[in-house]
Symmetry: C2
């Protein structure tokens, strides 16, 4: 009999467990896989260890910044020196600064669009977006519908679409305007999510972001049980019994630290309330394939290119320099999203590499052909994530079912980056949600 059982050993669950243990509580963490970290994970390619999941942090993410210091995990700035590449439906140009090389009138439209989105986002309360005065109206529209009606330039719409696709792992038509604005607002606005310097892609962990979860799990020691997927969560006898193939774990309360579309796959007894079940049916995980292309040296830097490339069409949406901190492993990292992720995921590794190579050659020249290594991770194929980076809400979900997002169901509490009040969808949001869930449960323990 424990005080708290945490289901899920990603950043949210590990944070919740550490916080409760720090306060003297007896906790067990049940993780389905043979590793911790959830949507942060490391794999080897061409002698390098790379983050196949979440990897960046920014200065606005105070919890992750503090964790890096506390866990003694050094970070370094993402490389962003040089010009960036814009591939506008096949037409490649380069630009400096944070705004693409567009004609002045399109630039004005882009600036106005960013300003409008950020102003709307700023009006939405993080804790209860469904109560905002615009909730019903904004939830009735898709982000794509708003963009079509509000951005009077096809090119700017295409550029915005590329940004949105990478941020959410989804096409703008898959997202409610209300949910998208809530998400953007939590991260400090569009540029704060899309940019490198001072923004969400500001810094990387020298030893990879996956090291954070490993360090947290080390603190928890034997309390973390790997390879124990949870089948049932049963509330009985004034507590909860969580059933895995290895046996039962009893506790006073449970924290479910997996995304909604995975939580729905557990059997809850008593059955969860209708609004909670309906919400979990309505938060599909984004579709993202993240790839690493390794090279003998970062040849793009020779041409004064930063390695950043944005594509409005085609298989790849965005590319960044991802060379290791010591410079030993030159790399570009990129993302395929939505329909393109599905297509990329269906290809053989060789065909994936060929498709990516074609894009990189267009952006960075023929030297991009000489890859030393290639690794693509299709998160939709990962049986315990089934998508990445985050769960979105289609139109009509948040205003109706949103209030069930964090509301405990009896002795069952919810966390995970999708429930965050700051930086939802990011590692920072996972940590924030873990802290919140731990505090919520701590206050209720005898």
């Amino acid at each position: 009999m424990h005080e708290v059982v945490v289901v899920g050993g990603g950043l949210a669950g590990l944070t919740a467990a550490c916080r409760l243990v720090q306060r003297g509580r007896d906790v067990v963490v049940l993780e389905a896989q043979d590793r911790v970290g959830g949507r942060t994970s490391a794999e080897a390619v061409h002698g390098a260890s790379v983050d196949v999941g979440g990897q960046w942090i920014g200065p606005g993410q105070r919890r992750m910044v503090a964790l890096a210091v506390e866990l003694d995990l050094p970070t370094f700035p993402t490389f962003d020196t040089g010009r960036k590449v814009l591939d506008l439906a096949g037409t490649v140009t380069t630009y400096a600064g944070s705004i693409p090389s567009l004609p002045p009138h399109q630039l004005a439209v882009l600036q106005a669009t960013i300003w409008r989105i950020d102003s709307m986002a700023a009006k939405i309360p993080a804790a209860n977006p469904w109560d905002s005065p615009h909730a019903r109206a904004w939830d009735r529209r898709t982000l794509a519908g708003w963009m079509a009606a509000s951005i009077p330039s096809r090119t700017v719409r295409d550029v915005m679409r590329a940004a949105i696709r990478v941020i959410f792992g989804a096409e703008p038509e898959e997202l409610s305007l209300l949910h998208a604005l809530w998400y953007i607002g939590q991260g400090g606005g569009i540029l704060s999510l899309a940019e490198i310097r001072g923004a969400a892609q500001d810094s990387r962990f020298v030893d990879g972001a996956h090291a954070v979860a490993i360090a947290l799990a080390r603190r928890l020691g034997e309390r973390v049980r790997l390879a124990e997927p949870v089948g049932e969560v049963i509330e009985e006898d004034g507590g909860v019994r969580v059933v895995t193939a290895q046996g039962d774990h009893r506790a006073a309360r449970a924290i479910i630290a997996v995304p909604p579309h995975m939580a729905v796959r557990m059997h809850f007894s008593p059955a969860l309330p209708p609004e909670r079940d309906a919400l979990m049916q309505r938060m599909p995980m984004g579709a993202t394939v993240k790839f690493h292309a390794l090279y003998d040296r970062p040849f793009w830097r020779d041409a004064d290119l930063s390695g950043e490339m944005v594509c409005t069409h085609g298989p790849v949406s965005v590319v960044f320099d991802n060379t290791s901190a010591d410079g030993a492993h030159a790399a570009l990292v990129g993302f395929c999203v939505g329909a393109a992720a599905r297509r990329m995921g269906s290809l053989s590794p060789d065909d994936q590499q060929a498709a990516v190579t074609e894009v990189l050659v267009r952006g960075f020249g023929p030297r991009a052909q000489a890859m030393a290594g290639f690794l693509a991770k299709d998160w939709a194929a990962d049986p315990w994530a089934r998508g990445c980076p985050t769960a979105g809400m289609p139109a009509g979900v948040m205003s109706i079912y949103g209030p069930a997002l964090r509301r405990p169901c009896g002795r069952v509490h919810w966390c995970g980056t999708e429930t965050a009040l700051e930086w939802t969808g990011y590692m920072e949001g996972a940590v924030e949600s873990g802290e919140r869930a731990a505090d919520e449960v701590f206050a209720l323990l005898a």
Copy 2:
């Protein structure tokens, strides 16, 4: 070791099983509940047995019509004599015929809207809507977005919204235009879905629609195992092993006859392909509360009212006369949908009855207050349906993930009304999908 294991004892699964047994195959049906029928079900109220789930059939539904004859289950016409009630945002009028009492210019808009929707729907192939020339464009829009842009009258939009809400159990913003058109086209157009005579609400079963599933299950006898919820579906040793709490069932092939949002809750090994998993994450079940209000006599008929009432706003969307075939049990039946279903579901039975009474008094006069019995079924609270009547697809789903809808995954085949090629969402669609899945599997058995 069986030849086929069918998971789910609703109309789709029972049909598939009967068809295979008829052709000499060895089949077992595993049903989670202690009854068959899925989204058809009967309950008692004030001495009457009423269909709390699907109940109507129409002349265009040839399989259900044939089944009624074959199973010797008599049907009778839905009562529709008299004027209908339209509650337009609180303003109540009555009308004859199939078109509400609107001013001539609004009537013209309504007719044009129906014509446009039906023409677009007719262009979409039932088997592969994702291949239609308009697939991408129509899937990028919600039905609500299309309505806002294409119906130049707020009143007509409100009337159409009421019809759509009842048909899908969802708000138009929750639905992709492509998916909605595909669905409407399969049922023969908007009026064919919304009307009584000659349409989807034409007839009722004297002994209730649930009798169909019971009769099919009787044919299968011991082959149907009740109260055996399936936890795992494992492909191994050239067959499948389906695991329930009662033990293992081995077969050459499996037919999964539960809706996608329930299938996702089973554990599949090997893991399902990414596009199948992603699809199941993206087909939430509609939200419908169906209520029966019983009276000592059908008093509305005295005032030449048919019992049909359409409300554009408020807790109830539509009401029909539901008096028993022998006239012994006078009843009105009605539906609360989407956000209104959530609110209704959260009320106590007394408060539900009070909310419904207020609507019925507005439509049918003060005699509606004297209910002899009241029963409301919130399908979102049903642990094995988790919604009703059908699963919808939000914008951006069908064009990307639709091809996974019926595609077998190894030895695992899919049916259920959501996979139908005719009358998807209806009992007819369930039967059609069961026949198709049975034929698909039969052709592959040794």
